[in-house]
């Protein structure tokens, strides 16, 4: 009995994940938009500041992290809005499986589609900023540990602003202040490795942020979805 229930949960979770990934693959331009945004934003800074390698490498951790944060944020509105308009979201809300669990599948799909490509592309942009190899590695680690927290926290904002007028800007206002710890620890990790220090403390704190949001954010997102859809 218990295993049957567990199987049903896993099945439902996998179904939601597969469906979201399939939809994303069918609309590949969405993935491209997020990536292009990340590349463009991070390429604007050298144009505004000048090509001096020393200056660029000192601002690189912050700039790349802020660019990744903004890229993750602009894609948030897609997380639930399509499902909201075509009625799928109501079906998910009515499903017998716990909503918070199904929400994690949607967030994971969002991260795989919008977060992971940015993480993989970041070292290339880092090269443009004259980051040394070691710092590039830490940059990838920090983004890998930190971007899940961004997707998780962002999901709360996306759920709260579902179907609200001007939701794109509103999401920014709600979510960006909550991203600050991830930004501080993530950019701090890269900066620490640049200065020849260990980035371990920063990375552990970043992982702690991600774990904490993994526990709390799905619950808050589920509650927010019920408030928004009811």
């Amino acid at each position: 009995m218990k295993t049957a229930k567990k199987n049903a949960w896993t099945n439902a979770w996998l179904t939601v994940l597969k469906r979201d990934l399939l939809l994303a693959l069918r609309r590949r331009s969405d993935i491209a938009t997020t990536l292009f945004f990340f590349v463009i934003v991070s390429s604007l800074f050298p144009l505004g500041i000048g090509p001096e390698a020393a200056v660029l490498s000192s601002i690189a951790p912050g700039v790349l992290w802020v660019a990744a944060l903004l890229a993750g944020m602009i894609s948030l509105s897609r997380l639930f809005s399509a499902d909201f308009t075509d009625g799928t979201l109501e079906q998910i809300l009515l499903a017998p499986q716990p909503l918070a669990l199904l929400v994690t599948a949607k967030i994971l799909a969002h991260w795989l589609v919008c977060g992971l490509p940015v993480v993989l592309l970041a070292p290339l942009i880092g090269l443009q900023y004259a980051l040394p190899n070691e710092a590039l590695l830490v940059l990838v680690y920090s983004l890998l540990l930190g971007t899940p927290a961004l997707s998780l926290i962002g999901a709360i904002g996306a759920a709260l602003t579902l179907g609200v007028r001007g939701s794109g800007l509103l999401v920014a206002l709600l979510v960006l202040p909550l991203y600050i710890p991830a930004l501080i620890f993530g950019a701090g990790a890269v900066a620490a490795s640049q200065h020849g220090m260990s980035a371990e403390a920063h990375l552990s704190l970043l992982a702690a942020c991600s774990l904490l949001s993994l526990v709390l954010a799905p619950l808050a997102t589920a509650a927010a979805l019920r408030i928004s859809v009811e």
Binding site: L170, P177, P181
Partner: protein
């Protein structure tokens, strides 16, 4: 004496009760502010390091305290509103937010007015000022979310959830900003309460903080009355109230 508290949880019965409480809190706030100003300007001695400019802390520190207290109170009302499905609690949370935002803004402006003569710069990325700035963003987000949702029930509950998410995040944000600050500034500029403060200075600050506190209660009650009137403007009791002339 056995007071039926639930009786006052309906907006209709709370409206006149709040009306009766407002004058008391207003006058208490005036008296406390007078006493606080007297202590801060007439009794508290000149600081031997900062001269007279330190007197800014008599508004800066209480405003900063209140900005945090109000956020916690707001989240508390929001939690009660969500848990008990009480309309009035959600209205209280909504009524507190603008006052909290004003105190946060005041803490920021007075902090930079103090920073200019002390550090020679209007803005210093010190841990307290930065956290206060982020707190302002949190208040603005809460107010923006509530004002952009038309359905008041949904606005109440969405705002309440956001306030709770915010209150969980505030300690984390504060810790991260402190961490960031200690890494990036070798010399720690300690803003705020000097370790050795004259007792009269502390008294002035406490009196001002109490005055702000009582003022907040008075203003929140005024605003909650406005919100009740606006939400219930088509109900019979409000129509009777507005035409009967006994506001």
């Amino acid at each position: 004496m056995n007071i039926n508290w639930f009786k006052y949880s309906s907006p209709q019965t709370f409206y006149p009760l709040a009306g009766k409480m407002i004058p008391w809190f207003t006058w208490l706030a005036v008296v406390l502010a007078m006493a606080g100003l007297y202590v801060s300007f007439a009794i508290a001695p000149t600081d031997f390091q900062q001269g007279e400019a330190y007197r800014i802390i008599f508004v800066h520190v209480p405003a900063a305290w209140m900005s945090m207290v109000i956020y916690i109170a707001m989240a508390g009302w929001a939690a009660v509103g969500l848990a008990l499905n009480a309309r009035l609690s959600a209205m209280m949370a909504q009524a507190l937010a603008p006052t909290g935002a004003i105190f946060t803004l005041l803490a920021l402006v007075t902090g930079s007015l103090w920073g200019k003569p002390m550090w020679g710069a209007w803005w210093v990325w010190d841990a307290r000022l930065t956290s206060e700035l982020i707190l302002l963003f949190l208040y603005l987000g809460f107010m923006a979310l509530q004002s952009s949702i038309d359905d008041p029930r949904r606005a109440d509950r969405a705002g309440a959830l956001l306030a709770l998410v915010g209150v969980v995040n505030v300690p984390i944000i504060y810790f991260s900003v402190k961490w960031w600050n200690t890494l990036h500034q070798g010399s720690t500029i300690n803003m705020g309460v000097a370790p050795k403060m004259a007792a009269t200075m502390l008294l002035g600050m406490l009196l001002m903080a109490l005055a702000f506190w009582v003022y907040t209660v008075a203003v929140a009650l005024m605003r909650v009355r406005c919100i009740i009137l606006e939400r219930e403007c088509s109900t019979d009791w409000v129509k009777e109230l507005s035409t009967g002339g006994q506001a």
